[in-house]
Symmetry: C2
Subunit: 256 residues, 2 copies
């Protein structure tokens, strides 16, 4: 079988441990191209750079690893890779990650990791976003191995146009992980606040602080499942229409 | 009846014409608070600032108009307004806009205008994103009047938790607008490319260029309807789960 070509991006930046761990595992069976943001881009959502130019540099990260470092967002990186840098080369799969920290529930809409995979999907490439559910756990090796396995399945089966997979992996060794669940996006909210501080020049500034409060009732939802040490796979799409509300609104009396 | 309290934000920045036109119309029946990005934030998606502090200044824009200018994204502005600046004051409605340029079809996921309204919805406030379908037409007056009317309807009826309205208004005088349609998010893609240039220091840089190609077959979809001079009202939600794919995925053989 011909080796597949896999594009890897992320939102933690091209020098992050998660992308390197993923690259090490995926290059065992694929030709890998890395195009990722130059610096940390967490919580950028589906941002793209339209009002400014973008620059690109080649970064050598490991002895045989180099990639394109894009001075932009995750979605910029994927768009620029596909539309220019790769000069029309066919990409069989896009992987975004491995992110440090879960992307579940409401966080999906803020996630740069998911947005890179969404951009891949928009561009017609089967795409998977992968996150390790910890900001501190540093062993990405099992997460990378699992991503390799799911990649092989998706390469074989494909994904419907407009659907991507959002995968979260517990920050545990393999023998502590309970299984794999197909999940829905959980329900949650951020119980956040802005802490006000005064800088040395007596000007006020604000830091966002807070924690996510989960409202999930069952393992059917990604946030609850990851908390209970399951790998979660959530199929994601980007038609935001609220179909339940369409008929209701048609009965409202909107006039010119 | 007690005057409603309406929070206005946008993504074109606090000094844009669209937000001023909206403010002028809405203050006729409501107490209005403006909290908006300091500068143009188009295509930022649902970006929030987590790794840096945020600063705020009060801007006086018109003789009796002042607002908070936030050095951050549209979602930052709304979050900071609700979580800190407004000190717990109850907001009856959030309006985001009026944006210069339509937010339809695939553009919805890149839109800062929609993301401000989404953040309002997440925070439990009935929210409406409003865009004028032109980058050049400068008369926001009818769009502002229509937004006032739809605001009154939503103030009366409310919106289900988790649903916002995305409104697009043709860049035409009222007598050229054909009516109001309740629509779905259209199908489209960006036929874009990156134009490579060389700066005076001989370094390469890229500009994103291109046009959106619409795939909508009927007026049921927002992009087609706005092109045909209808006001479009699309109900939006942010559960991205692809429900059609859930059962299919459960039959795939994912192993630890």
């Amino acid at each position: 079988m011909k080796k597949p070509t896999i594009l890897i991006s992320n939102d933690d930046g091209i020098e992050s441990d998660g992308i390197k761990a993923l690259w090490r595992e995926i290059k065992k069976f694929a030709d890998v191209i890395v195009v990722a943001p130059h610096t940390q881009q967490s919580a950028v959502g589906h941002s793209i750079t339209v009002a400014n130019p973008i620059r690109v540099r080649k970064n050598i990260i490991d002895r045989d690893f180099y990639g394109y470092a894009v001075e932009g967002s995750p979605a910029d990186s994927v768009k620029l890779a596909v539309r220019n840098l790769l000069k029309g080369r066919k990409i069989d799969l896009l992987l975004s990650g491995i992110n440090h920290g879960a992307n579940t529930a409401i966080n999906i809409i803020y996630s740069g990791t998911v947005s890179a995979a969404t951009e891949g999907t928009i561009l017609g490439i089967p795409s998977i976003a992968v996150s390790l559910a910890s900001f501190t756990y540093i062993d990405f090796s099992y997460a990378a191995k699992f991503t390799a396995e799911i990649s092989k399945i998706v390469l074989k089966k494909g994904l419907p146009h407009g659907t991507l997979l959002n995968v979260n992996i517990p920050a545990k060794p393999k023998n502590k992980i309970k299984g794999v669940l197909i999940t829905r996006q959980g329900k949650s909210y951020w119980d956040d606040k802005y802490e006000s501080r005064i800088d040395p020049n007596k000007r006020e500034y604000f830091w966002l602080t807070g924690r996510m409060a989960s409202l999930d009732e069952s393992l059917e939802f990604d946030q609850k499942a990851i908390e209970k040490d399951y790998i979660t796979i959530t199929p994601i799409q980007y038609d935001l229409t609220d179909y339940k509300m369409l008929d209701e609104l048609k009965r409202w009396d909107f006039k010119l």
